[in-house]
Amino acid sequence: MGLRWYHFALWGAFIVGLALLPELVSKGTLRTIIFANYLAIFAISWDVLSGRTGYISFGHPFLIGIGAYTTAILTKRFDVPVEISIPVAVVVTMIGGLIVLLPALRVRGSYFAMITLAFMELMYQLVQVIRPDLTGGTRGMSGLPTLTRGAVNGFYLSAFLMVSVALSMWLLMRTRLGTALSAIGMNEESVRGSGLSATKLKMVAFLLSAAIAGLGGAFYVHYLGTIAPRALFEINFAFTIIVAALIGGASTIVGPVIGAFFLTLLLEYLRPVLPGAERYLIYGGVALLLYMYQPRGIYEIIQQGLARVRRSS
């Protein structure tokens, strides 16, 4: 796996830093960081699938939505406790992941991306039309059970989830499975030509990605206590996930976490200066410039900086 002492040191410092955060920042900032944690989980989910295998998902809210709606419906309409509804939501989302896998057996590139976008749109329409008594229709649902009270507890839960997902995926992607999944993104035919079943590997990537999306979606909905289809199945939400992963550094797991924090904090700190939608222009500009400067993202910029320091010392 090639683990070095500084890997442990960096992860340790990151976890300690997160643990101390509620002492250092205001409750308002903490609420922003809770969103960053969930965005990081979604971006990792995207990264495991799209960053690795090159099957670009434009419709990741489809998977997140399955997780979120499953637990919302189970808890709100059937009084199922969250201890059961969340694992069920993860499993149901994994089944959703298999549905997204089907087109990936035939098409890739922009065709696949468009199909995932269609899945998201389809889901948006379906939850409004089919059984609105269950889904809450266009309005969605509110009054869902929440798992924590207050910003501090909400933060700790989201941080714990995010670190667990990030660390486990980071370790997993350092194994030969990570190498094989990356290889799919580079040349699927050569993966087959190396005696490996590309279909099996893709299935693993889709299931992992879906499980993370379902987990994140389910916990997020129990943090918010509400679910609204318009906010969930929105192209801006899908793009925020992709941009977080890309500007952080796709296919690195750590990059999407950095990207999620960078994006969320950037938008938040622009808010007092530009309260309207203009800040999205700045956000888009910053993302574009960063991406043009280093297509491998902030992670690579940090790596190169560290290499320079190492060389000069």
Partner: protein
Amino acid sequence: MTEALTITNLVKRFGGLTATNDLSFTVADGESVGLIGPNGAGKTTVFSQIMGEHRQTSGSIKLYGEEITPLPTARRIRHGVSRTYQVPRPFAELSVAENIRVGLMHDNVWQMVLHGPDPDRELELALSVGFTEDDLKRTPAELSMGDLRKLEMARTMATGPKVMLLDEVFAGLTVGEIAQIGELIQQMRGDGMTFLIVSHDLKALEPLVERAIAINYGELIAEGSFARVIENEAVRASYLGDTV
């Protein structure tokens, strides 16, 4: 002698085009055979059918007596047949060592997760094709065409084949690199590897094969010793574009 590869009445049609036309031949275990023919003769299509990348329209392909036609590519490779490509297909962002690592993996997700790589075997394969230890960290973008072919050979060898199909293995190589790859093939022949080799470079091919099979328009036009096949009138006509 055991037959390593047995092709019987192989037919492949792409719409109205017959790319392989009732082709039959065998390659014995430990034998090295050249598959020659002009551009478009259907040599690569034969390879693609042996590997299962294209399904034949009809006919049979056996590996050590076992019909491999129903198997997908990955399983054919595990049965012991592997190929290289005319244009090398490396994993662009993986290092030389990681490229070889993919070839060494077993098709089992749990094993991939639970067992680490085998750096000794990776190094051994890299050295066997002529890389140095320093080359292990290089990426394909830093490699010459000759090195890319060597990398492809190493990754193909990593899958543990008994039969290797080499497609235009000398294309784009310098004289020195041709000699190096030729030497490697000779060495592997000495170790008992079975080869089916496609090459336009007949001069480089001649010393590496015991026998040649010539095809044109997907049909077998000559078979026998290399010298006899290239002297064959139909073969010469096919290369020079004459009709026989």
